[in-house]
């Protein structure tokens, strides 16, 4: 097994799926000879040609809309949005069309598109290259939303998403691309869309996160272990449909719940997890459900001190863990 970067896992999944299924194709801005602005589609156009690796015009709504049409006519398109911040022009196509195609046709037409979008803040990404968009889309029935946190899951879940008969929004936290490494087997495998994963067992409190926040949370949990607080870290992985059972099982064990997400706190994704715990595990709780999330400002400001003020670091997570454990 080789240890590879998150971005390499994404790239491998593309190569393998396109090689083994002629229906798979990629479309997006700069996905061709540049290989994507982050390198996710590197080497594809050389191997599979311009007909299957389409450098599109700079128009996100038609990237989604054309992909939907392709999917309705026998192809398995992967539509790349350069940054999740720029997916908004395609909101109508994804929400009104892709997510509803099967339901509105009473099961007759399916829409097997993968919408890939790098999301979240990295260094200097500012208001329009750092957004967390998952809450907008996870809200929509008929759309699957995933945010894998390891290279192994990134590759396996992207393959599962490509093979999925329904539309999947595949979110990749851009901070992870080159920082997060992990072991990925050589052969073909998939990671199912749906189940959450307990990444670190613990007795004192449950921490729920996904994407880059999962990495930071694991680091914070290690630090806490040295202080004697054992945190159970659950990787949500699939945001919709949500694996509520795994969440409730963890809370039943630890009796405390902390949810960490980078999006603005107000009506962010963690609010749904908090609500489910409150509704279904109320008598398991020894403390109020706690959220650590991004501040309610329009985005991550650019200047270094402002960016640090916004960012959810392992230090801030550790502080929240201490507070909740002491409650």
């Amino acid at each position: 097994m080789a240890e590879i970067r998150y971005i390499d896992a994404i790239n491998q999944a593309h190569h393998e799926e396109m090689a083994q299924d002629a229906r798979v194709l990629v479309l997006g801005e700069d996905v061709g000879r540049k290989g994507g602005v982050f390198g996710a589609t590197m080497g594809l156009v050389e191997k599979f040609g311009e007909d299957r690796v389409i450098d599109t015009p700079l128009a996100e709504s038609s990237i989604a809309g054309v992909a939907i049409g392709m999917a309705c006519n026998g192809l398995l398109p992967i539509a790349e949005f350069q940054f999740a911040d720029f997916i908004h022009p395609a909101f109508n196509q994804i929400v009104s069309e892709a997510a509803r195609m099967r339901y509105r046709s009473n099961g007759v037409y399916g829409c097997p598109v993968v919408f890939r979008a790098p999301y979240g803040g990295s260094h200097g990404t500012a208001l329009y290259h750092s957004q967390s968009i998952e809450a907008f889309y996870a809200h929509v029935p008929g759309l699957k939303v995933v945010a894998p946190s390891t290279p192994y899951d990134a590759k396996g879940m992207l393959k599962a998403a490509i093979r999925d008969p329904d539309p999947v929004l595949f979110l990749e936290h851009k901070r992870m691309y080159r920082i997060v490494r992990g072991e990925v087997p050589d052969g073909d495998y998939t990671v199912p869309i749906g189940p959450a994963a307990v990444r670190r067992p613990g007795r004192d409190l449950s921490l729920f996160a996904y994407g880059w926040m999962l990495s930071e949370s694991l680091a914070a949990a290690e630090e806490m272990a040295r202080e004697g607080i054992e945190v159970e870290v659950v990787d949500i992985r699939t945001l919709a449909p949500l694996d509520t059972a795994t969440i409730l099982k963890s809370v039943a064990k630890t009796n405390r719940a902390l949810i960490v997400y980078e999006d603005n706190q107000f009506l962010g994704y963690g609010a749904e997890i908090a609500a489910r715990i409150a509704e279904e595990a109320f008598f398991d709780l020894d403390a109020p459900v706690m959220r650590l999330a991004g501040p309610d400002v329009p985005g991550i400001p650019f200047a270094k001190p402002l960016e640090e003020w916004f960012s959810i670091s392992r230090g801030k997570i550790a502080a929240s863990i201490r507070t909740l454990a002491a409650y």
Binding site: T56, S62, G65, I68, Q93, R102, Y103, S105, N106, G107
Partner: protein
């Protein structure tokens, strides 16, 4: 000169008249002479049988339309949206298409086009009554949101313009998979203001997608007139901006509508890419059953617009060439009335969807 510039040039020469009346090519070319007129449909490769069938579909669509409005007024249907006045161009544009192989991406006025493509009157009325067996959506969508997998009619939504990129994507897939399929997509002129419409044309032209891009221009987007929708004299001139041919045809001249569609279809088949076709059609009714067009259209305008009714102009043509007379017209009308009566009863008897099915088909449930 390339083909598209030449054709776009001819678009600019299309006469536009105040009040929306466009004189039919037939009337201009042949003032009533039987031999010359007869040669018109034959010269286009249409048999007598073809034009009689085309008339049948136009008349069928109109009669179905009338029935749907009666049923709505009688409280049997919640809502109607349809295309009286649009039937001629729809039937003509669909005529070259292969009913089994080719794709159609409709909009809410595509009653006649869907009938020609293969949907039955019963299919459409099952949708009107929101029955469980409605082939478009099983009663989930409002009436007028057509779709039918057997006839490769894509499921329709309500946001205007979204269907254009879908059609282009379907056509791209046909080209990549070398299936030989052609796709036709329809929209009103109001929908051409949407970004999706423009993005779709751009993409289709770049990749020479085999698609007929139809705009049924009735000069009203609900109540908003053409002059407030666009500053250009016709939708078709926009084609030049994307590098594809654009043509305008008078929707009251069914044979001319066919001619331009056939040309575009053959182009698509030859791998030469998309064509933008604008049909100038009269809107004979209100936007929908929730609209009262008398509030924003004068009596004079409505009288004028009725003269452009393709049902009447095409009937007049067929009478002139001796293919229809009072007796055969009566037979056709009788057959249509009987068929629609039967279909109305059949659709009315069909069961409503059960509430416990409302969570079905959110995701794939297996073959």
């Amino acid at each position: 000169m390339t083909q598209w510039t030449r054709q776009t040039q001819s678009t600019r020469e299309t006469p536009r008249r105040k009040g929306g009346g466009v004189v039919s090519a037939e009337a201009q070319a042949v003032p009533g002479g039987k031999t010359t007129v007869e040669a018109r449909h034959r010269a286009l490769g249409l048999s007598d049988q073809d034009v009689l069938e085309m008339y049948y579909y136009i008349a069928l669509a109109r009669a179905l339309d009338d029935r749907m409005w009666v049923l709505q007024r009688a409280g049997k249907a919640m809502f109607v949206i349809s295309g009286p006045g649009h039937e001629g161009c729809q039937v003509a544009a669909m005529w070259p298409m292969d009913k089994k192989q080719d794709w159609f991406v409709p909009f809410y006025r595509s009653v006649a086009a869907c009938l020609v493509k293969g949907m039955t009157v019963t299919d459409m009325l099952l949708g009107l009554f929101a029955r469980a067996t409605d082939p478009s959506s099983g009663g989930r969508q409002m009436p007028g949101h057509y779709g039918h997998p057997r006839f490769k009619i894509l499921s329709t939504s309500s946001p205007v313009g979204t269907q254009y990129p879908h059609a282009v994507g379907i056509a791209y897939a046909s080209k990549l998979r070398r299936t030989g399929e052609v796709t036709m997509v329809s929209i009103g002129e109001g929908g051409t203001s949407q970004g999706d419409w423009h993005e779709a044309l751009n993409f289709a032209a770049i990749h020479k997608c085999p698609v007929l891009l139809i705009v049924e221009n009735n000069e009203l987007a609900i109540s908003v007139p053409l002059r407030k929708q666009m500053a250009v004299p016709s939708v078709a001139v926009r084609a030049a901006g994307y590098g594809m041919p654009g043509v305008t045809a008078d929707g009251s001249d069914v044979l001319e509508c066919y001619r331009v569609a056939k040309e575009a279809y053959d182009r698509a088949k030859r791998g030469e890419g998309p064509t933008l076709i604008e049909y100038r059609v009269p809107r004979l009714g209100s936007h929908s059953s929730d609209d009262q067009q008398e509030r924003y259209r004068s009596r004079e305008e409505l009288e004028q617009v009725r003269k452009r009714d393709p049902l009447l102009t095409f009937r007049a043509y067929l009478e002139r060439v001796g293919l229809l007379n009072e007796s055969t017209l009566k037979d056709i009308a009788e057959r249509i009335r009987r068929d629609i009566d039967t279909a109305t009863d059949e659709a009315d008897r069909a069961p409503l969807p059960q509430p416990d099915t409302a969570t079905r088909h959110l995701f794939f449930e297996g073959e």
